[in-house]
Symmetry: C2
Subunit: 471 residues, 2 copies
């Protein structure tokens, strides 16, 4: 299927982005969400709704519930059944809202219909049933000490399971003692930089393109973030030696974020050599290391030297950010100084999540999910690349077939201009500039496209909007 | 039932404290836990085990599983079936371990058989089945945006539910906008003190007895913790005016921790008056405010002045610390400065926990659980007090009928001596000194007894040991 043959219903609604939270019973909540979306003008009269099957799958609820909600909203006059099949927002719906003209829309108008911002996995593919089973087993069988205050390092079961998983899937050299469970990679990095600051580090090199939140985490801990250039072989390691006073370097070696290149094997060796010679550290952010589509994922840098690499992993890309689960694998000599940044009794991740994750990995469900998602995202990326090549030949995509995002560049247009054009198509993308270190001298420009986030029913509509924006 | 007629089996084993984590399948895990406990000498030959019914209830697992485990361990020679009924650790068990004499016990010898240290609810009463149902509904019906990155303030559903619950149950004046969800009260206090430090506060008054971890949290944020005396009417508020430069006071007004008194209503008014006159703040730690046994709980101080009180609540005492759920209710003008200490994208509590808690409160399950626990802990406290009066007439108990702990004092003995005597009875209690501010001049002394923690099968054994220690 190309974007041209997209499901019209889904394209015109992008419904997954519009319904607010569904509270109360599912049915009542969904009805309220529809009424509110229509009242606030987020669903305009004439908007065609996705089929009950598609919406039920998107929301992870029963199809019968959606059928009933549609039918009740039709009888209330909010929706209209179309001849043949299909449902749309009633032309009379605005009369029902009454307050409409006096009222501000509940969300700003800039709320996009299509969202291709990077950083999200496909949330609609979260394996709800299997996760429920893991949680159920966890709560039923957990010893009751698990309900008490626990080790700030995290549950030993999860740490052991992660050590084995990371050895097998990412080539790490890790024992459970080196693993610290955190509530997401953000907390992990916060602990690391606080520990480094305490250990006397004052300057950390970062890739010239990267997450602003990570640079902010460094600054907040009183550390200077020194940019190093990134080319087609990844970060230019040779420059580390020319920057005096560095205590560490923060890298995304498996898949540079956001430029999408891998750190060349010579440079992998070189950065480890630098850390050994200088007694410095490498912080390896392995945010999407499982997702490589052209070959098997390359092992983590940590496997080369577990004494000089601090490894940062997360379930946010492989499962869902909302779980707030991340992990650090630390060199022996740093376990104490970094974990003590947590506070004595301050375990942050709840035990249910931790033990459910343990169960999820040990049962094989995690591997199955990763495999399924790898196939899913590989198809997405391929569709994206083919669509761009076909309909927008002047656009270049950067980086290798991996991860959940891609950078698009056009010779005559800069990223902000592309993002503005996308916004006119009700499509959100992020200009590369958002990720640029203020002192970077790179002339790279473009937009960062996260292709994983849209639900299956919203994907081709998003792709169409992207094609229009790039035209 | 008095302590004298305690179930012998439970008393001699205190088994709930001895089995390590049960991993793998429940049956295999329980078998390993037994073997390991016997190998490490935590279960000595001749130790009588609780009945399969009692152990199954304690561990929250099926009775058949325990029956099978007992029977397999009997056939392996670890356990012996007693004539009549009952099971004990086999006299030959040590032969099976082989390594025993060469090996250190897996836990230090000081591991108590009976644990009456404060700070824990009865973990064996955690409502597993109802929590599973709440989690299941949550994961089945959550909109998929919930699986994504969320508001660092917490899920809006939980914040709205908490605002209503706290208004109803604790008399707070709160809107959802004032509520911040944290991973436990420890994170809450960390955010508060970091925010206060940023806002220019340098000195905070604390009660002369309190949690050391709270004083440490203040120090870590660079704040000075100034002690104020506590008498039978709670903290002596009149002294606040004599201590210059205070920016806030940290109080446990509903039930002083650990002395167990309530802040007198005159002093409640006085501290609010102090905060208004001086433009200072009150941090109200309402850790066990739901548990009052002689009358309805007095409302939180926050209800008197929501502009000068920072309210700190937790599910750790009402449900379980392992959930890592706490909440702050903040004055309008402090929401930004305190919540921003979290980091921009750093929600710490996973959404499943947050929405399950929402469901648990909204369905009425939370109220039911609190009511059941209130009756349970009231009985516990009564049994404790009656047993002490009967068997140890020289011992005084301090504080009012509330909460999950009580302070015991003896005229001729100090707390450390009592704790040492308890340790000889394999009973862990904490001397009051552990909670004393280094600059306190109080001559109060004694031990702090947490009466909620033991499982139902371990309770009377713990009570017996306490009687022996106080003799």
């Amino acid at each position: 299927m190309t974007a041209r043959t997209a499901d019209r219903g889904a394209r015109t609604t992008g419904l997954d982005l519009h319904l607010g939270h569904i509270s109360g019973t599912v049915r009542a909540g969904l009805m309220d969400a529809f009424r509110e979306a229509i009242r606030a003008d987020r669903l305009a009269p004439g908007t065609r709704l996705p089929s009950s099957r598609v919406l039920a799958a998107d929301l992870g609820i029963g199809r019968n519930t959606v059928v009933r909600v549609y039918s009740e909203l039709i009888s209330e006059g909010w929706l209209t059944a179309l001849r043949g099949s299909g449902t749309e927002v009633s032309q009379r719906a605005t009369e029902l809202t009454g307050r409409r003209t006096r009222r501000q829309p509940a969300r700003p108008r800039s709320q996009p219909v299509h969202d291709l911002r990077p950083g999200y996995p496909d949330l609609s593919s979260f394996p709800r049933e299997e996760w429920i089973r893991a949680v159920k087993r966890t709560i039923s069988t957990a010893p009751f000490e698990a309900f008490g205050y626990t080790d700030p390092h995290g549950r030993s079961e999860l740490r052991e399971t992660l050590a084995r998983y990371l050895a097998r899937a990412r080539g790490l050299r890790a024992r459970a003692d080196n693993v610290i469970v955190c509530s997401g990679a953000a907390e992990g990095l916060r602990l690391v930089v606080a520990g480094l600051a305490k250990a006397g580090v004052t300057k950390v090199a970062v890739e010239e393109f990267g997450l602003q939140t990570q640079r902010q985490a460094l600054l907040k801990a009183g550390l200077e973030a020194v940019p190093i250039p990134v080319d087609s072989d990844g970060a230019d390691i040779s420059l580390l030696d020319r920057s005096p006073g560095l205590g560490a370097v923060l890298l995304t070696p498996s898949h540079q974020f956001p430029l999408g290149v891998a750190l060349h094997s010579d440079r992998r060796a070189a950065v480890v050599d630098w850390a050994r010679r200088r007694g410095t550290l490498i912080i390896e952010d392995d945010y999407d290391g499982e997702f490589r589509y052209d070959r098997s994922p390359v092992g983590a840098l940590q496997g080369l030297d577990h004494d000089h690499v601090i490894y940062l992993g997360t379930a946010s890309k492989s499962l869902a950010p909302g779980l707030r689960l991340g992990w650090l694998v630390l060199p022996d000599h740093l376990v104490e100084v970094i974990s003590s940044q947590k506070g004595e009794t301050e375990e942050t991740a709840g035990f249910v999540n931790q033990l459910a994750m343990t169960d999820f990995i040990e049962s094989g469900a995690y591997d199955r999910h990763i495999r399924a998602m790898r196939a899913h995202y590989r198809r997405r990326r391929q569709q994206l690349v083919e669509t761009i090549r076909q309909h927008s030949p002047g656009t270049q995509e950067a980086g290798m077939p991996a991860g959940l995002h891609v950078v698009l560049e056009q010779p005559a247009r800069n990223g902000s201009e592309l993002a503005r054009r996308a916004a006119r198509e009700h499509l959100a993308v992020e200009p590369l500039d958002l990720f640029r270190h203020p002192e970077s001298t790179s002339d790279r420009d473009g937009v960062v496209i996260g292709f994983a986030a849209p639900s299956p029913s919203g994907w081709s509509g998003a792709l169409d909007a992207l094609v229009r924006a790039l035209r």
